[in-house]
Symmetry: C2
Subunit: 269 residues, 2 copies
């Protein structure tokens, strides 16, 4: 797939300041970037928005909102407030969506935690729509259910979308959902609700722990070509985000990481 279809999630080269990431993305002819909120806090939202626009880069997503689950109502209200700030930032950036990492299981209660997520999204959905920001539920890998997201299956995320309104989409992140035998059906069913497609690979044995063990495109067991092509067939026409959280690639020269992932993106997807 052509590099103009590639959006670089900035965590992939996290040692670089955001200004430099934008410079590199432009000079390599990429289609866009996907920054994280802590980078906006450091560099200033307006500054980043202006740089990206000047470089002709789309902002495929902002990472991240969500984290709606909490043991008590006070904690959940704080989360909703934080999501309001994230929505404002996504609007200022003109981001294609705000990624929602929905929040971990609390109180050993999986269905109850899903309900908290549904309530949290419902609490901010109108404001997001008014701000022109598309919320995008990202199902994470089930191994992250205790720490990051109770939402871990695409088809159930689509159900959640249906509960929370038409403005909300879903992210198909290959690393999180590749193992699911019903994935192709879920992608078909998601159709135009696919708000983003993220790629990296699954390498085993997993090193770097659950969070930072992702593999370079093409190094692992995921049929990335099939996954991206199914998302395209289902109607997704946006950029494909490369998001590699990896101790191995973080230790490498970030420009090597970047040229490697561009090469793999063009050859393997």
């Amino acid at each position: 797939m052509d590099r103009t279809q590639l959006s670089l999630n900035t965590i992939t080269v996290r040692s670089l300041p955001i200004d430099r990431v934008i410079e590199l993305a432009e000079s390599h002819g990429l289609g866009g970037i996907a920054p994280w909120r802590h980078q906006l806090a450091d560099a200033g939202v307006e500054h980043v928005a202006k740089l990206a626009r000047a470089a002709g880069l789309r902002v495929s997503s902002l990472c991240r909102g969500g984290m709606f689950t909490a043991p008590d109502a006070g904690g959940r209200a704080v989360a909703v407030q934080e999501n309001r700030r994230a929505i404002d930032e996504a609007a200022a950036l003109g981001a294609d969506c705000l990624v929602l990492v929905c929040g971990p299981v609390v109180g050993k209660d999986v269905p109850g935690s899903w309900q908290m997520v549904a309530d949290g999204i419902a609490a901010v959905a109108d404001e997001a729509a008014a701000a022109g920001v598309r919320l995008a539920i990202e199902p994470l890998h089930p191994m992250m259910a205790a720490d990051r997201s109770v939402v871990s299956r695409s088809e159930k995320a689509i159900d959640l979308h249906e509960d929370t309104g038409p403005g909300v989409g879903v992210i198909v992140d290959a690393y999180h959902v590749w193992w699911d035998v019903t994935l192709a059906d879920a992608i078909r069913r998601a159709g135009s609700r696919i708000a983003g497609v993220h790629v990296s690979d699954w390498v085993s044995p997993l090193t770097g722990g659950l969070l930072a063990g992702r593999g370079m495109i093409g190094d692992g067991t995921i049929d990335l070509t099939g996954l991206v092509s199914r998302c395209r067939s289902a109607g997704y026409s946006g950029l494909v985000e490369v998001e590699i959280l990896s101790d191995r690639w973080w230790a490498a020269d970030p420009e090597l990481t970047l040229t490697t992932l561009i090469d793999r993106f063009e050859r393997c997807i």
Copy 2:
């Protein structure tokens, strides 16, 4: 839950020889054990069967058959042969079931690998039935899809069961399936097809890697009480197996591991 309902999966105290495990299980008043095939290879199947019978212990399962996936037909045929041997051993032990760890994703093809599993089970189902051995598909955690089992969701394992005949059951292992928001429905639907219930806990952060990071009952985020009680309501009346693969507990005195898990079993489930 009373300890007479507890079956000790021998991997939990893997430093002990099987004779000693049987002795301890009897002296602590447990209901049964679940050995692994390599222990039978060392000690002799008939010897283990005789000791367990003499101690009044059920054999809740034999670990393990399966591993049906392979890139080529030759590899798959070898797997079928190996399952025939496992069936003979399970029959000699009078085990309640033979656990099937179905085999990893091969060729980046998740649905194709499921089909290999279905074919493999179909190839041995009649022989298992003739030998009086119940085959039990164990969905593993999705994080093990690349290494151990493409079968990773209870509800899909039940579909697989339906494809492979009425003699085949499913294992509900809390560690592997706790995160699934549809689990309660899957358990209800599984009903009398539940061939075994395994317990351990999910602790985070995960230490000991994907394989040996399980937690002691009660130390983690799984609603074990709810899970076991739902399996009972669905009709499962067999023993509840404690299977804790844990670097931490393997490093402890195995008799401490045993008394701890019995105490937790009686207090937390």
